[in-house]
């Protein structure tokens, strides 16, 4: 908090034009590269030859990056806040891969199911993974490193399951990549509708912000200040699982945004969750949009899934955090 509050409006003022520019850029980049002028034209007039490309193929992807990235980021901020663990994130503790396995099962094995079953199954998978990890890591408390270690092992387990499902569908490699790595490839307006319920959940996280701030003082202090520690923890984790599995249901197992975005936000505005949560959401959306745009633009006409780009950014950062982490219990 140390006087960083003055930065917040400035940051927002700088971020908004940047976000708009990136949005426009993401509409222009791809197998058929467009000039910014053509893109602008295609958005606003039906007569442009590119309007189908921009409005039907690229715009839903671009818009989808925001709720998905934001949900992953807020989920990460909540998990980090609740566990007081800088290494935690929905993908690190297994929630993403649990949700991914359940959703991949619905898509790859059951096949033609109505689209709404995706988020539902993802939520069931994510919740099961979270409970499993917490149960296995619990020994009268949870040490940060141990939670991450068990999370990593559970992730390996679910990833093996996804690998198995995907290998049985060798003819649908592109579809399998979504569940293995996470990607916005081929997402359309229908998927965007599916992601809309994530939006009201984002401000819901803010209701927990003040209690999470108090929780940061330690369980005993928070209790003394009138916070119901266990309830807060349960609500925050449930919300985190909901957000992460909702994101996974539409974009697959995108890695490391839930880890990166809250850390970046904390660097910028400090640890106050009232500011941390909204900025995390913004940065998460921005990161995913950037990853998707880079993935399409770098090797055009080939496309690198957004999940690979986020892993390239996020894994080194995780290694850096790990080398700095000197907590006890390891």
């Amino acid at each position: 908090m140390r006087g960083t509050s003055t930065h917040a409006p400035l940051l927002l003022a700088a971020a908004l034009p940047g976000a708009l520019l990136l949005t426009l850029l993401s509409l222009a980049v791809g197998a058929v590269p467009l000039t910014l002028q053509d893109t602008w034209h295609a958005v606003w007039s039906d007569s442009s030859p590119y309007s189908h490309l921009v409005l039907q193929l690229r715009l839903p992807r671009t818009l989808l990056a925001w709720p998905v990235g934001a949900a992953l980021a807020v989920s990460g901020a909540l998990v980090q806040g609740v566990t007081r663990n800088p290494l935690a994130a929905p993908d690190v503790i297994g929630v993403t891969s649990g949700a991914g396995l359940a959703a991949a099962f619905v898509v790859l094995v059951l096949g033609d199911m109505p689209l709404w079953t995706l988020p539902l199954s993802a939520f069931v998978g994510g919740l099961a993974a979270a409970l499993l990890v917490y149960r296995l890591a619990w020994r009268g408390g949870v040490s940060p490193m141990h939670l991450v270690l068990v999370g990593v092992a559970v992730t390996q387990l679910f990833a093996a399951g996804i690998d198995y499902l995907a290998s049985a569908q060798a003819d649908r490699v592109a579809l399998a990549v979504i569940w293995l790595r996470g990607s916005l490839w081929g997402r359309n307006w229908e998927h965007l509708m599916l992601a809309l319920p994530l939006l009201p959940l984002l401000p819901a996280a803010l209701l927990l912000a003040q209690r999470l701030n108090l929780l940061a003082l330690g369980d005993a202090a928070a209790q003394a200040l009138g916070v119901s520690v266990n309830n807060t923890r349960r609500q925050a984790l449930l919300l985190a699982v909901l957000l992460a599995s909702g994101a996974v249901a539409v974009a697959g197992t995108v890695a490391f945004i839930g880890l990166l975005a809250p850390h970046l936000a904390r660097l910028l505005v400090g640890a106050d969750h009232r500011r941390l949560l909204p900025l995390s959401a913004l940065l998460g959306g921005l990161l995913l949009l950037l990853a998707d745009t880079l993935g399409r633009g770098l090797l055009s006409p080939l496309e690198v899934p957004a999940g690979i780009m986020t892993a390239l950014l996020g894994a080194p950062y995780f290694l850096y955090l790990l080398s700095r982490h000197r907590g006890g219990m390891i």
């Binding site: 990833a159 399951g161 198995y164 049985a168 894994a315 790990l322």
Partner: protein, 323 residues
């Protein structure tokens, strides 16, 4: 000693059984061993040219990985260490993908590239976890390894996508597959596995001393640094050779040394390492048979089967690590 004899006898029996399964079971064309000398040409052809080399590759890979896992766990003194968990396999995989893809025009030898990749990622994970500065905590080593492997795997995926005609084959390759093995692969693989086995047997006694701790081993006249470097070299060669010929096989190297120690009831690496090799062979042969069963009549990559078997075991080990 009687216990050790019994364990070895049972393991050999298991090896024979699984070899029989790997050779004959779960085929779309019903294979009978009796058909071989009753003039069933189809059976004879399949067994000789398809199943036999495949079985031998599985056995060789299993033996190599079992030894490598045992060596790595001994030298890091870490129950969770394995070439797959520490990212050594993924490093080799990345370099193979690069040599088959982007760097294709230089015609680099794949095996050398795989070993270079394995060595590089092994060195990286050591530096990152602080292992070179003394005994790193088990958890830190594993987490560094896992983060490094996810980075390397992402880079491999990216490298594969650079030339997508390789795409599907490398997807199977990254998971580890013994589909389409011929006598050529057997010939390429056995010298490395034999070399690594001999090396491991020679290092078994020094590794026993190393378990006493660096200082004690040192005072007994052991050149601890030399032993560690030799072990690392063997692990790198085995990982490189296996990744070159069949791909990154998950978790065999993690499960097998534990099983060997538990069966023998002691830590003596002169007994543990050979047993780990035999058990590794049996596990690979069993996984090979299962890989034809799990989505019959289609085949799954054998690496996926070992991952499905090994991941719960890894979870169990991490659960046991809690303090």
């Amino acid at each position: 000693m009687t216990r050790a004899l019994l364990v070895y006898a049972l393991t050999l029996l298991a090896l024979l059984l699984t070899a029989w399964l790997s050779l004959l079971a779960f085929s779309q064309h019903p294979l009978m061993l009796s058909g071989l000398w009753q003039g069933d040409d189809m059976s004879a052809l399949i067994v000789r040219d398809v199943r036999l080399p495949r079985m031998l590759v599985c056995a060789l890979v299993g033996v190599g990985l079992g030894m490598a896992g045992g060596l790595l766990q001994a030298v890091t003194r870490n129950a969770l260490a394995s070439p797959h968990v520490l990212g050594i396999n993924q490093g080799a995989g990345l370099f193979v993908a690069l040599s088959l893809g982007v760097l294709q025009r230089w015609q680099l030898p794949t095996l050398a590239m795989a070993c270079a990749g394995a060595a590089l990622s092994g060195a990286l994970v050591m530096l990152l976890s602080g292992l070179h500065r003394g005994r790193a905590s088990g958890v830190r080593l594993v987490l560094s390894g896992v983060a490094l492997s996810s980075l390397l795997a992402a880079m491999t995926d990216g490298a594969v996508m650079l030339n997508d005609e390789l795409g599907v084959s490398i997807v199977a390759f990254m998971a580890g597959s013994v589909d389409g093995m011929t006598w050529q692969q057997v010939a390429g693989l056995w010298p490395w596995v034999l070399g690594a086995t001999l090396g491991a047997l020679l290092l078994a006694h020094p590794l026993n001393l190393l378990q006493l701790g660096d200082e004690a081993a040192h005072s007994l006249g052991l050149k601890t640094r030399t032993v560690s470097v030799l072990c690392a070299l063997l692990v790198v060669v085995v990982a490189g050779a296996v990744v070159t010929y069949v791909g990154a096989i998950a978790f065999v190297c993690l499960i097998v040394p534990h099983t060997a120690r538990a069966l023998l009831g002691r830590q003596d690496y002169r007994l543990v390492l050979p047993l780990a090799g035999l058990l590794g062979g049996a596990l690979m042969l069993l996984s090979d048979a299962l890989s034809r069963l799990v989505s019959y009549p289609f085949e799954s990559p054998v690496g996926i089967v070992t991952a499905l078997i090994g991941a719960p075991f890894f979870l169990y080990l991490t659960w046991k690590q809690r303090r």
